[in-house]
Symmetry: C2
């Protein structure tokens, strides 16, 4: 459970969830994600490191840039269910 919780925890942050969603469209470099998220690049880098340690993404350095991509596409199936949960709670709360 410990290991499983770690994976879920990695997804329990708006920016990281955004990253996973964005990577579903293809790989992105840190600078692209940083621009989209609007936080410091060091912050985004740390989020990516965490996702990588959780086994969710893979990194690939090409030249000066580091590209990230999803390692486990099945994560994307989560979104439908999450959406259902959020809708049931009325989004409010």
């Amino acid at each position: 459970m410990e290991a499983r919780a770690k994976v879920m925890k990695a997804l329990g942050h708006p920016s990281r969830l955004f990253i996973v969603d964005e990577l579903s469209f293809g790989e992105r470099c840190v600078c692209e994600l940083t621009e989209m998220i609007g936080a410091d690049i060091s912050t985004v880098s740390k989020h990516l490191t965490l996702l990588k340690k959780a086994g969710i993404v893979l990194d690939d350095r090409r030249g000066q840039q580091v590209f990230y991509r999803l390692r486990v596409p099945c994560i994307l199936n989560f979104f439908g269910c999450i959406e259902a949960v959020v809708k049931e709670t009325g989004g409010g709360e």
Copy 2:
């Protein structure tokens, strides 16, 4: 993303993940879950409150006991994917 992350975050704890797994077999009262988890009942109650606020479980008082059950069964589909992630990382790390 904020709302979605909240749901994922609720699942990002070993005890809570255990609870969700256990509830997949049917409803359980707080005392049963407490015994299985081996923590203080107040701690378990707080975990359940959090899961409830996240929209993942429902509670139902019957007499002196409060029974909890899954509100969104599709959560159970997560386990297969999570397992795949954990296995890929070698369980280690």
